[in-house]
Amino acid sequence: MSIPGAGLGKGLAVTLKTLVTPSTTQQYPDVAPELPPRSRGVIALREENCTVCMLCSRECPDWCIYIDSHKEEVVVPGAARPRQRNVLDRFDIDFSLCMYCGICIEVCPFDALYWSPEFEYAEYDIRDLMHDKDRLGEWMATVPPPPPHDPLGEPSKEETAVAKRASAS
Amino acid sequence: MTLQDVLLAVVGLVAVAGGVAVVSTRQLVRAGLWLVVALGAVAVEFLLLGAEFAAWVQVLIYVGAVVVLLLFAVMLTRAPIGPSTDLDRPALPAVLVGAAAGLGLAALFVGVFGQFQVPSPAVGTAERIGDAVFGDWVLPFEVLSILLLAALVGAIVLSRPSAPQETPVAQGSSR
């Protein structure tokens, strides 16, 4: 059994309560926002880790990563013949297309891509949202250090491998 | 000519000009708006003549309700923006009757009251009108209320959609 008009009173009560509750709005340009750790702001590139395996570009759902490269012969002293090595010419991410899914970062086998929490890179021209590899490299400075391991968690694969090798020898 | 005379004449001119526009404009809604001007000017005449209460009743009932109803009806009957073509009948008989009534009455009034002057009326007549309505005129007042009720009922009956029994039962299912 509900009293007719009780909902109206409830609406008034809720709004009045919200009125006297301090609001938690952050005045953004004046006050820096408190971002949660590991927020997804922009994607940074560590160029020397990239082997041009193209996994990121292929897995990208909206095809916003553009990669060009050429092969170079590297003469390794003592080796029978020169090795071939991929050299990155172009690594562009079009942030006007990117949907911040992070799949490229997940799939990168050599830890060349990282999330950076920086988000203030809006532009007046949409074409300026295409970040080349130098720009992506600059973001590396803003990438936070990886979180420490959970002291109660399982040890990492590398650690167990080292321990196993040591015990075997 | 006193100041009040001048004001009366100017407001009277506005009223007549509004009236001319009401009966001559070819745009339906504009006619209603000119009627607001004419009736408003008449209300101001009432004010100048000391009939304050009647003036505000005029504004409340005429401008606030009657004209709005008229405009409402004009819009509901799909008045176009811009002039309509077939609003008028032949002018001659209307001009004859209108001019005869208007100018004849005007000439009569000028002839009888031409130089007549009366003292400026005192304002604040609501109490006296109340006494008059509920004293001498209370019976007509009550009759009037019955008339209003009858008009209300009549308007409702007229504007309701057709009664269901007018259409045969078999076709009535389409609603």
Binding site: - | G19, V22, E45, V66, Q115
Partner: protein, 121 residues
């Protein structure tokens, strides 16, 4: 001091305009507007008469007239809207008083068409 002849002449002219409008206009709503003009002219004369005789009887009558005008407009507009709903037109010249509303005729047509089809088949 005021000259009552000024509002009286105004009222006379308004009345003339109203009479002209009632006879001249075809549109029912415009006719109603012209009637309002005439009623207002009468009210103006009543109120002016009050001022001349320093009484309020005329104003009482003016109030009565205003109330009756409101009732009249209510019923009049109900009639006009009813007319418009029946005929899609509120031209007073085209109101034939003796025939059935046009909306009734299409109901008969399908029956006739059906009958002629039956004869052909």
């Amino acid at each position: 001091m005021i000259r009552p002849v000024i509002p009286l002449v105004t009222a006379a002219l308004l009345f003339g305009l109203g009479a002209y409008g009632v006879l001249r206009r075809r549109n029912a709503v415009l006719v109603l507007m012209s009637v309002e003009l005439m009623l207002n002219a009468v009210n103006l004369i009543l109120v002016t008469g009050d001022t001349m005789r320093e009484r309020v009887t005329g104003q009482v009558f003016a109030l009565f007239v205003i109330v009756i005008a409101a009732a009249e407009v209510g019923v009049g507009l109900a009639l006009v809207l009813r007319l418009f709903r029946l005929r899609q037109d509120i031209n007073t010249d085209q109101v034939a008083l003796d025939d059935e509303p046009r909306a009734a005729t299409p109901a008969g047509e399908p029956a006739l068409a059906g009958a002629s089809d039956g004869e052909q088949a």
